[in-house]
Symmetry: C2
Subunit: 392 residues, 2 copies
């Protein structure tokens, strides 16, 4: 239920200013007339609202109309340099590495770096803080205007305990690490599961765009699931453990196969499956990529079919619980499998359950976790600006 808002004419003013800023952020550059149409406010009020936003440095004139009759209308936009967002992706490769980027209020990426990081030698918060300072200096952005840092980690964040769980990167399981980073940089720091952030990117840049929600199945070394409930709201679970589908049981304990989904479609299981089919298996993704590239080889086809059948078990479980409008296959393995794997899983799903949930391959070619972190940070920055106007 909507907040029970009550107040005086002052409230009206803040609401109108805030609503106008939201329109500028969401719909891009607008003339006074456009804004009038969106808000329903009168001409003088629209002028007054824009005057205030401009005074506060939140809106700027970016041009003038031309061609039509009458004076050239001023075109207003949210000031791109009013605030910045930083996205960070902490990776758990052979060597832990950091990817980070900074963008302005319009989402334009101003700087991006990737570095190896020895979290054994340097404390995690020190390392990240230093890297963010370097990033901002290089991009020419004022650190003081960074209003949100969104970190993505390979693990689940428990907001109740304030701890990152199930994370293998050294130093990142320490409690309070975010608070320290936040205090060091004097900015709001939030953490989220990397798969969740990949789903954010999928909504903005990939096949999740415009959907009513989707379930993103992350197939990589590990196994994960992100649940977009529509409109970008993510289901995280009581302890941030929603989507830990590696734990979905497969069969009763008496079964001969792996007892859970991780044992069936986790990276090592996929490698083992490839080897069992006589295929080379550097990594799971390599094996799948090689197989999709050589479909003439019967072993490759059989491997993919067997893999698809296993994935379909997971998708069927997810679909039965959630009935998502769409299931997205992502992660290195999902990406490597491409349309071939997607079609194979679709076919396998038909034979597994009566549900016919559409399946798609990820549409994000770039680093989904980093892009998602950036977008998530940007949304927080925008919300903070709007809310700051609402409660002055």
């Amino acid at each position: 239920m909507v907040a029970r808002l009550a107040g005086s004419s002052k409230l009206l003013r803040t609401m109108n200013v805030s609503a106008s800023l939201e329109y500028l952020l969401d719909r891009g550059p607008l003339t006074r007339a456009d804004l009038r149409g969106l808000t329903g406010l009168s001409k003088p009020t629209t002028s007054e609202v824009l005057r205030r936003l401009t005074e506060d440095g939140l809106a700027v004139v970016v041009g003038r109309t031309s061609g039509g009759p009458g004076p050239q209308a001023e075109i207003y936009a949210a000031n791109p340099t009013a605030a910045y967002a930083v996205g960070v992706s902490v990776r758990e490769t052979r060597v832990p590495s950091l990817a980070m980027a900074v963008c302005d209020l319009t989402g334009t990426v101003l700087g991006r770096v990737e570095t190896a990081a020895d979290f054994g030698r340097q404390a995690a918060d020190d390392a990240v803080a230093a890297a963010i300072r370097d990033l901002c200096a290089g991009a020419g952005t004022d650190l003081a205007r960074v209003r949100a840092v969104q970190v993505g980690v390979p693990g689940s964040y428990d907001p109740v305990a304030g701890v990152i769980r199930h994370i293998d990167v050294p130093g990142w399981d320490a409690p309070g690490i975010l608070d320290r980073l936040g205090r060091r940089l004097d900015v709001a720091v939030t953490v989220d599961n990397d798969v969740n952030l990949a789903a954010v990117a999928e909504r903005r840049h990939g096949v999740g765009h415009g959907t009513d929600g989707f379930a993103l199945v992350w197939l990589s070394f590990g196994l994960g699931l992100a649940i977009d409930l529509g409109g970008g709201r993510l289901l995280r679970g009581a302890r941030g453990g929603a989507g830990e589908i590696g734990y979905v049981p497969v069969g009763l304990r008496t079964s001969e196969i792996g007892t859970d989904l991780h044992g069936l479609v986790g990276g090592q299981a996929v490698q083992a499956l490839a080897r069992a089919h006589g295929l080379p298996a550097g990594t799971a993704a390599d094996a799948v990529a090689a197989a999709t590239g050589s479909l003439a080889d019967p072993a490759a086809g059989a491997f993919l079919a067997a893999l698809a059948e296993r994935i379909a078990v997971g998708v069927a479980a997810v679909a039965a619980v959630l009935d998502p409008p769409l299931v997205v296959l992502a992660g290195e393995v999902g990406q490597a499998g491409g349309d071939v794997l997607r079609d194979a899983v679709t076919a396998a799903l038909r034979t597994t359950t009566p549900l016919d949930t559409p399946i798609a391959t990820t549409g994000v070619a770039d680093d989904a976790v980093l892009l998602g972190a950036l977008d998530s940070g940007l949304r927080q920055v925008r919300r903070a600006l709007v809310d700051a106007l609402r409660t002055p």
Copy 2:
């Protein structure tokens, strides 16, 4: 994101009146001073707001304070007779039957009936419309003031197609049946899955009260799941199919046991399991009730342990996908199993997965579906009243 509200002083007035009505509905009887504290409005404005609400018949004076110094303050409450809600539960027993109840704006049940219904002879919408008229006449409530009818059906409602799917009650699978009922009674009619409504009742009257959300596993002849995301928001899925956990696959197709959860813990499977343990099995619930009542019998204990292990598989799948703060066992079987079954499932879950989701038995002794339908209808009525004030 909150609606981008913009407008003039008229908007302010409607917002304040509407917020005040919401407080009256949620917090019960209030004096002017109480309302002032909640809304932050001034004394004259509070008076004006209450004057309007009273004029519109939405609020009434229900008493006066006494004991303190000064004049006796008037105590206002939402007018219980301003609007009514009707809840209907369509049951699929040997003979299809209808349970329905009507309540006033405070939630007080004014009338309740249960009837067998021959949907073969009489069209479903005719039968329900007639029953609702009788119900209201018997309860002395004006049918014109019934602002919402919430129907619960054993099936899933697809809002896109406007059809109830997977329903075995004759006549209820016809498209447009709700529209016809709505037009006949001139009231807003909504349908929902019976298990979803049981979850609504669980939140209001049962162990779901005050929780951050829960997953309600419905064990009866069929098998179902309702997902409360917190605050009473239910996850329904793209085609209303969320929670169809009967379709969760159990094992690959090679497995020797039932290929999905329905084959494992559906009513017939439970009966078969009881028989295999040499126990009588009139219905699944009877078998479970009998077993919990005779724990000294080793066969009964073995039966319950085997059943708990199967249920734990389903709970583990749900917990891995959703990580709910709580899992509630409900339905005839869940209720019959009581604390014994709950403890057995908890123990079995420990051996199945590393997740330790708390499990509880339903706390709703009465007809959960009917109570949930009533409560859901009541919420719609309240929302309708508040929204009607907001946009005059």
